[in-house]
Amino acid sequence: MPAVTSDSGEVNSLSIVPHSLETQTLRVYPLRTRTAPPFWRVSISWGRGSTLRVSLLQPGGAESDGEVVEVNLTNTERGEISEAERQRIAHGSVTPFALLQSRKNQMDELHSADFESAEDKAPLWVHLMEYSNEIKSLLGTSKSYITPTIEDPKALLEDVEEPTSLKAAWELVEMFYADKQSQTWIPERLLDWLADFDCLLSATQPTVHARLVAFQKALVTIQEVENDPEYWEIMSSALGIGWLDIVVKMLRLHGSYQLDQVGTREIESGLVEAVAVLISQMPRLRPHISDEKLGECYNTKPEFMKAWEKWRTQLTKLDCHPFWLQCDHKQTRVGLKNMIQIMLGNANVISNATYHWIELYISHLLYIRPFTVGLESMYTLAQKCMHLKPITNRHKLMGLLIGILEENTEVVLAECSRSFGPWMITHAAELLTAGSAQAEMLLHEEQSKIGGICIEELHRLIYAQILSSHALTWNIAPIYLTSCMKQGLGLLENLLYKQPVQQHQVLSESIEICRLNGIDYVSRHMMKIAGVHYWKHGEKNSAVYWLQQAQDEVRLNRIAKHLFDLVGKSVSDESFKQWEGMIDLLGTESKTAGGLEFLKKYRDFRRSLQQVQDGITTDDARKASEALISLMRNPSTPQQFWLRLLNDSLELLNWKDRPLFNVSQTKLLLNKLQELSLARLLPGYVDADLPPEAFKSVRLALASNLGRAILEE
């Protein structure tokens, strides 16, 4: 079998996402089961979404029983983000996503209506950044990992919640694609990014952050810090990647600052401070900087260049100053000089001070190529840095960053989906399409090979399918599906058809989803299932209710027929009560079935007849007689019940006080009886379950009523 067993902790390629750049190594996932081969049979069934249920059946005589294993094919990045966290992110990202879609739609409409970008409308990238900020806030706190606290001079790093790679990846995509304002100061943004996420890279590779953490632990036990070579090394490293505040803070730990040293180490202290001041005054090509960070910001390149030249001159001047000769403390002299070399852009020193290629890269951008703007030749530099600091175990963030730097959209897309999962690619696609024409084309081009949808839609479908795997997230899948132009509705239908309609909440949520999306035929289907379920499980009233909601005339008619059978078989009061409620329900929409009208009238007739038997007043009797006439006049009253109705009304026909039916009414009833007597001769006639003399009694009663009516008139 040409397969390798999965060995790494990452299971994400099991998420069933098609790529175009396949490095096809087939992966084998061992199922954790109690049962072992040989199997009599392995049976499969897809559940909702991307869950697969595998039945492992044992051969006859096997020791153990068989079992069913449920495999969730969507778990990506196991470990970093818990299931609960994933669901929180999934729910939280719905609103920003939906809002962005509606804004985009609005803009499209405006555009097509030839309103050339109305002035009061914000441009797309403003909406995009709003969206991106909301998503970012979902992914964790934005507090920088290396912010020093003021209280404890020896606390270099603040304890903050460990950031996730997902957030790091999101910020990369935002920085390079969505944030139009940061395009001019990408190197500085990358520097901020590394400050937040260097800790993530420590997992696979030595980093400045990791060394800083280790040094922080050791710091409490170190007496004269300036004698420790690690102190100087780490300061150089931190300076190399632009963590100026940390460097200055560390410099202030220098022994020459101690009060008792003032008299003896003035020169030393002066040099340390001079370097610290120059570090704090480093010109930065960025519009603003947070308060705790150091450096002087310049918004435009010419201003920055001018300040840079001046700063460099000061550095060179300091470097050549005669004071150095008077500095007796060797470590301080060498250490400070080394730091000046970094700031002067000495490539060798920089290379020695940094560990990870991305750190070296930042260093290069800061000190060797400070005027880099935009993405110009950034990839060549990255390649050079990677060559200088080769990596054995590449972090997934680096794959994404390299893809971005080499401006290879296919790689970026593949990395987004492969390493960070369907959530990431679905949501990040918004930023990608807005920021790169190539990405826009790649994501929106219809692919005939995958059924005519575009890649953006494909990823949304896959993400929606994953959402629908879970009972707590299935109801947000429709938001993503309705944003799919071609196949979203089809998948939404299939998703709804698999919902357990017996669960009332699921049914009502589904009906609402159908209503919002104009797919009433799906909700009708679901209500039909509910109706039949209740019908078969003895809850007749619920059954009728749901079948009516489903407008299922076939089944309602069938139920009406069932009720007719009841009418024909017995009219005892007990059974009448049983189906009285159902007639009420059926009768509310008399259009649903022709026969129902009859049933409703019959119900009224029965009620008044009951009152006649209870109270015996002529008024009640008159009402009952009117009900009988109305029933007998109605063409929908089945012939098979005529005799039953008349027989039930014998008391009315023989009413003592006065005849209740006038001549024409009695004639109508006689005609019906006549018709019935003819029909009885035809084959297929169903005789009512009545005593044989019933026909005769009715006829007699009618004749006598007619006689009395004629006399009265």
Binding site: I16, R32, S45, V68
Partner: protein, 328 residues
């Protein structure tokens, strides 16, 4: 990633999940059926709630169980080892709480039923059964609320040339898969293949109901000219959420073929078919194939005891995406 959700009774021979994945029916070696339900809708732990003996008159194992579409109730069709086909449903009546009763046992004469499948979404429920003598019977439900009353709607052999009739046919297995399309106006269609001693019956054919002439017609044959006699072990029609063509997987001993079927009939009424992939993986027989709800991923099992997942990449090339292997 994976968890055990259910322990099956000893001697289970086949299983099937209902439409929502909330119920499992299992057929057992002693001819009983077992129903498993989830104890709580939020959890996915299942326990056996009903177990009852199948047909009294026929002993032997249950070899196949299939759920009826849910709009006809909670009902299953089951085939026993001796080839009997019966229909069971769960009801509540005046005398008893939820219980299962047999509502229909189909006549079988001499030949055995090999496979059975319910159609979706038609105004009347249809049941297609494939028999060991190579015949196909389509039964139609007469009353939407009663699963007792069926009538035979059609009977034919799985051949393209409707005139030819074959005798002395012996089939080992058959596989049927309905077009999962639910929209009621569409003509119903299904695909069917046999594993038999008669080459012309074997190849998978797509049958469609011709409303005008009220008869079933073979509209496509899913095999290359040189493979026509190949015995088919399994077929699976993919859900179509908006592709301009249908996808059908057909498994023979040569591998799993993925066919594209387009709905543009030629002058003979045949639909154009195109094999887009021949996949090999399972060493011998393919047991089962099932498409996911988007029709993008095909899951298969076979006599090598593993589950394989197949997918097309963005270039339309089909490949094996992953293997799920029980511990050996």
């Amino acid at each position: 990633m994976d968890k055990s959700i259910l322990v099956l009774d000893k001697g289970t021979r086949c299983t099937a999940w209902n439409y929502s994945g909330e119920r499992l029916v299992a057929g057992l070696i002693d001819g009983s059926l077992a129903i498993y339900d989830s104890t709580d809708p939020a959890s996915s732990n299942f326990t056996c709630t009903h177990r009852f003996k199948g047909l009294e008159a026929h002993n032997g194992s249950i070899v196949k169980v299939v759920w009826a579409p849910p709009e006809y109730g909670d009902a299953v069709a089951c085939i026993s080892e001796d080839g009997n086909l019966s229909l069971w449903e769960e009801i509540v009546d005046d005398t008893e709480g939820p219980h299962w009763k047999m509502c229909k046992c189909f006549d079988r004469n001499t030949s055995q039923v090999l496979d059975v499948q319910f159609g979706y979404g038609q105004t009347s429920l249809k049941l297609v059964a494939a028999y060991s003598d190579g015949r196909v019977k389509i039964h139609e439900l007469l009353d939407t609320l009663e699963l007792e009353k069926w009538q035979l709607q059609a009977e034919f052999q799985n051949v393209i040339d409707l005139v030819s009739k074959f005798g002395n046919v012996s089939c080992i297995s058959a596989s049927i898969s309905w077009n999962p399309e639910r929209i009621e106006v569409r003509q119903s269609s299904f695909v069917l293949g046999f594993n038999s001693n008669t080459p012309s019956l074997n190849s998978a054919k797509v049958w469609e109901f011709d409303l005008d002439h009220q008869r079933w017609l073979p509209v496509a044959e899913l095999s290359l000219p040189e493979d026509k006699g190949d015995q088919v072990s399994s077929v699976a029609w993919a859900p179509n959420i908006g592709r301009p063509y249908e996808l059908i997987a057909v498994a023979t001993q040569k591998g799993i073929s993925i066919w594209q079927l387009r709905s543009n009939p030629d002058h003979d009424g045949r639909l154009s078919v195109h094999r887009v992939a021949l996949l090999s993986g399972h060493e011998n027989e393919v047991w089962e194939m099932e498409w996911d709800m988007s029709g993008m991923t095909l899951a298969t099992t076979g006599s090598d005891g593993v589950v394989r997942l197949w997918q097309s990449n963005l270039n339309g090339a089909w490949h094996e995406q992953a293997v799920l292997a029980p511990p050996s």
